[in-house]
Amino acid sequence: MRDFSYTRASSTEDARKAALEAGAMILAGGTTLLDLAKCGVAEPDQLIDISHIRGLDGIAVDDRAATIGALAKMSAVADHPEILSAFPAVSQSLSLAASQQLRNMATIGGNLLQRTRCPYFRDPSTFPACNKREPGSGCSAIGGVTRNHAVLGTSEYCIATYPGDLAVALVAFDAEVNLGTRTVSVEDFFLAPGDTPEKETVIAPGEMIMGISIPVSPAARHSTYLKVRDRQSYEFAAASAAVGLEFETDGKTVRGVRVALGGVATRPWRARAVEQALVGKVLTEEAIASAAALAMEGAVAHGANRYKIELAPRVIARALQTVGGLA
């Protein structure tokens, strides 16, 4: 790991100003940044440590929304009683991610900004070509080992999967991220790679994630996060789904439904076609199966990741069956 200077920010204004300097990066939990510095992917000249700033780790839920500070730890949010009851999918997306040690370190703001696990991205000395790391250098993943790469939202420049779980649940339930000077929806916060895969979010110089808010809704309260992976714990998703469901008063007709996907796309992926196909329908296994298939419209396989195109709709279906009382 290349050496850098270290500054402890005393306030968010302080941090945002200091982070404007060339080569400066904000350090919070460190679980992504120090890992990438050790890989040689991140090469900061200066780290601005915000982890000692007070008052940025609050978790509050009222009748309108949950408001979570950027420095709240993943484990604290996952175990928060009101997050558990009002947003079970959010809690589950956190407790099914990483390990307890990492969840005790990683912050909510940093979690959103975690970088892809694409092994080509993470290994600059063996694979110099990576458009995300070095714009214009090419993509080593295309034509390479692609089992964990994305099938949705890819481009000819990048097929790296967005690795997170939390953001998938946030996108499903219309959460917003507070950047200090403006607030954007979590869905709009993340960018598809297109021809600029190095640009992953809309965050601009001088901005910093201050926190997130998640609106309370019947679907969020009646939700689940299903994560399917190669081993039972401590693994990234092969495919995951955050789903929420609200029935009409008859208890079987869908009034509202939310579906978002993880592990298969270049960004947290809201599956609106699936939602639209289910609204107004009686929730049956058949209705779920035909709706879930719509999630993969436009999917492109690159060799070994083809299985995700079949897996993801099954994950959506299982999650909807679970939350709908059919499984």
Binding site: L27, D35, K38, S99, Q100, N104, M105
Partner: protein, 167 residues
């Protein structure tokens, strides 16, 4: 030119002052600067859990924590969990009793993780222990004995707590 910074760290209740490069992790500070080599370096990449320590009572990975970040926090390492008279922690005793290791390299991290796992209330069943201990890899595959040791230490801790509450 190497830039060093001065940090004062609270490790196992003792204050230590040292000059380190800003990039020095808590793990390297412990092992290379403070001769506290009980905390092990496995992957040095946040994947194996061998370097697990407690910061303000929470288990964390010392390989992904900068020494400078934990100034003003209380750090506990494997050297700090036995009693002052040398009486082993209940989790240490359970690991010995259940032979919950083979080569022993992951053991300090396993024990630090288990102490926190029990304290968090995440050791209620074998399944929960497996889930909440999944951040500690054991390449010898001593997992069954590790789960048994954590379960016994958790039951013992709960029993002690119940007795204390009844008294």
């Amino acid at each position: 030119m190497t830039r060093t910074i001065h940090v004062t760290l609270d490790i196992n209740g003792e204050m230590h002052s040292l000059d380190v490069e800003p990039r020095v992790t808590l793990l390297d500070a412990l092992r290379d600067h403070l001769e506290l080599t009980g905390t092990k370096k496995g992957c040095d990449q946040g994947q194996c859990g061998a370097c697990t320590c407690h910061v303000d009572g929470q288990r964390v990975l010392s390989c992904l924590t900068l020494a400078a970040q934990v100034e003003g926090r209380q750090v506990t390492t494997i050297e700090g969990i036995a009693d002052d008279d040398g009486t082993l922690h209940a989790v240490q005793r359970a690991f010995l009793e259940h032979d919950a290791f083979q080569c022993g390299y992951c053991t300090p991290g396993q024990i630090m993780s288990a102490v926190a796992c029990i304290r968090e209330g995440h050791a209620g069943s074998d399944a929960e222990i497996r889930e909440y201990m999944s951040g500690n890899l054991c390449r010898c595959g001593a997992y069954n004995s590790i789960v048994a040791a954590v379960r016994e230490a958790a039951e013992l801790t709960a029993g002690v707590r119940q007795k204390a509450e009844a008294a």
